[in-house]
């Protein structure tokens, strides 16, 4: 099996885990996609540096593109995006979706559901009413106390 085939399979498997096994359904949530967009930007940047410097080299036979014999791969083209094989983007997506889905899964099971995130330090605490119970705080009563 090629990296391309494995990458596609792992992306589909991870989405299935999110939707059907953990039932976290992160791929249906706006918050996930905005977070992934941030992750993707930094993957293109950091993995781009590593592939441009050829810290990672790939076998010609397992990716859509090819690995130049000498010198860095193209910035775009030959199956590459920001120097990296596009297959790397599939691996990155799967790795991050799986970790984020498990994070939400364990929170939903009651493992350290609280203290919830936020607010940012530039906002006064308590100004965000969206998530969590009113008045919830790290040591307060409520839902963080009964794992499972």
């Amino acid at each position: 099996m090629t990296y391309t085939q494995i990458g596609i399979g792992v992306v589909l498997a991870t989405i299935a885990v999110d939707l059907l096994v953990l039932r976290t359904r992160l791929v249906t949530r706006k918050g996930f996609w905005v977070a992934y967009a941030i992750v993707l930007f930094f993957q293109l940047l950091t993995n781009g540096v590593l592939t441009w410097l050829q810290v990672f080299r790939y076998s010609d036979t397992v990716i859509v593109g090819s690995q130049p014999d000498a010198g860095p791969p193209p910035f775009i083209g030959n199956g590459r995006i920001a120097f990296q094989p596009f297959e790397d983007l599939m691996m990155g997506f799967s790795l991050c979706l799986l970790a984020m889905a498990l994070w939400v899964f364990w929170g939903r099971r009651g493992v350290q559901r609280t203290p919830m995130s936020g607010p940012p330090i530039w906002r006064r605490s308590g100004s965000r009413a969206a998530a969590g119970t009113p008045g919830a705080d790290p040591s307060g009563p409520g839902n963080g106390q009964s794992p499972t």
Partner: protein
């Protein structure tokens, strides 16, 4: 210095995401038990994939740009750090978005009935 290339990029990823814990109060590192539970499965699966891919020859890692510590004689220590630091950064990003926007992710506590606000 060249041997610190990969490790340096990992440090950038860690520092570039860990500041969210303070500035946005993501409270991910503070909830370390939940974090370890979330990281254990992807770490294990992706390290197995990585070892297999290196042994099979799908990809290789430049020994001149890693510090030279290899686990099982195959996988550079940087790769193991990668599969901790990168998923951690993604969870920090997820909580950072929630801290700023307040969009629910499905793990919020159900509203208590006595509160008068039905879920």
């Amino acid at each position: 210095m060249e041997r610190l290339t990969y490790l340096g990029v990992l440090l950038f990823i860690f520092v570039g995401s860990a500041w969210l814990e303070i500035a946005l109060r993501t409270r991910v590192l503070r909830r370390w038990k939940r974090l370890l539970l979330a990281l254990a499965v992807p770490f294990t699966l992706f390290v197995i994939w990585d070892v297999w891919a290196i042994v099979t020859g799908h990809w290789s890692i430049d020994p001149d740009r890693t510090v030279g510590i290899e686990m099982f004689g195959i996988i550079p220590i940087e790769e193991l750090i990668f599969f901790v630091v990168v998923p951690l950064a993604s969870i920090l990003s997820l909580e950072a978005v929630r801290a700023v926007k307040g969009w629910p992710l499905g793990d919020e506590a159900p509203a208590p009935a006595a509160d008068g606000r039905a879920p």
